[in-house]
């Protein structure tokens, strides 16, 4: 990494690398980085499912979260990196959902060009066609799902939130 030749020229000084990497995110269950290619999805599924179980989920809940994350990662592999397939990685971060750890938040990061979120829409389910199901499956099993401003260095951040107990439905 390039640094100013004279450290004194940079004010305030950068913190030592150690402090930065050692910092622990107390909500972290697992952070996984894999190449954005189809075989990685099996690794993503194992990791996310087990992280959900560690968070206290039951098997059916963990299976649904795993499906949603798989679908979001498929979209990274197939669409986000479409212009240059299998050239980048994706990062999946699984955290307990604050404030009361009543669910799990999953961030899916890629390093591809920024996506136009308005173009990401599932198809009409009554129109039976192959494809266009991923977005529906994600919304069917997660309470929240959508693009967020990506952190520095990332291309896109897609965030899923799934609660352990569904909020009561009105009416």
């Amino acid at each position: 990494m390039s640094r100013p030749a004279d450290p004194a020229a940079a004010a305030p000084a950068a913190p030592p690398a150690r402090a930065r990497t050692a910092a622990t995110d107390s909500a972290l269950l697992a952070r996984l980085r894999v190449p954005a290619r189809p075989p990685s999805l099996r690794i993503v599924r194992r990791t996310v499912r087990e992280a959900a179980l560690v968070a206290g989920a039951d098997a059916a809940w963990a299976d649904d979260l795993m499906l949603a994350v798989d679908e979001a990662c498929q979209n990274v592999v197939r669409h986000a990196y479409a212009a240059a397939p299998e050239t980048g990685d994706m990062v999946i971060v699984v955290r307990t959902h604050p404030p009361s750890d009543d669910g799990v938040t999953v961030d899916i990061l890629d390093f591809a060009p920024a996506v136009d979120p308005t173009r990401v829409r599932g198809r009409d389910l009554d129109d039976v066609r192959p494809g266009g199901l991923g977005v529906h499956l994600i919304h069917a099993v997660c309470e929240e799902a959508g693009f967020q401003p990506p952190p520095d260095g990332a291309g896109n951040l897609f965030r899923l939130v799934k609660h352990f107990a569904k909020p009561p439905v009105d009416g």
Binding site: P39, R42, L137
Partner: protein
């Protein structure tokens, strides 16, 4: 993931097993379209499918539409709970012709 193709009476039975995901759904698609080629009805046995994603479902939809176009029966049989869950989420459980067992699907064909 494996696709096992076998003749069974008047039909071809394609038994999928394991995880049908983005990595292997192209192979599933090819195997099902191949199986349809000789015009015999196709029964897709999903009893051993431990996982299926939207790409796997898309392969089934494509085979289903190819079968309809050529006037061949295509049935899903013995759908595993994992696969049924995804079909229900995608609201496709009423689109496909789903039979409880392969034998039941064969009995329907024999009528």
């Amino acid at each position: 993931m494996t696709v096992d193709i076998a003749a069974r009476g008047p039909a071809t039975v394609a038994a999928l097993s394991g995880e049908v995901d983005l990595e292997c759904s192209p192979a599933v698609r090819r195997a099902l379209l191949d199986a349809l080629r000789d015009g015999r009805p196709v029964i897709v046995d999903l009893s051993l499918v431990s996982y299926i994603d939207s790409s796997g479902i898309a392969s089934l939809v494509e085979a289903y539409q190819a079968a309809r176009k050529q006037g061949t029966a295509l049935m899903l049989a013995a759908v595993s709970p994992a696969a049924l869950r995804v079909m229900q989420l995608a609201r496709l459980d009423r689109v496909f012709n789903i039979r409880p067992t392969v034998d039941d699907a064969l009995a329907v064909l024999a009528q």
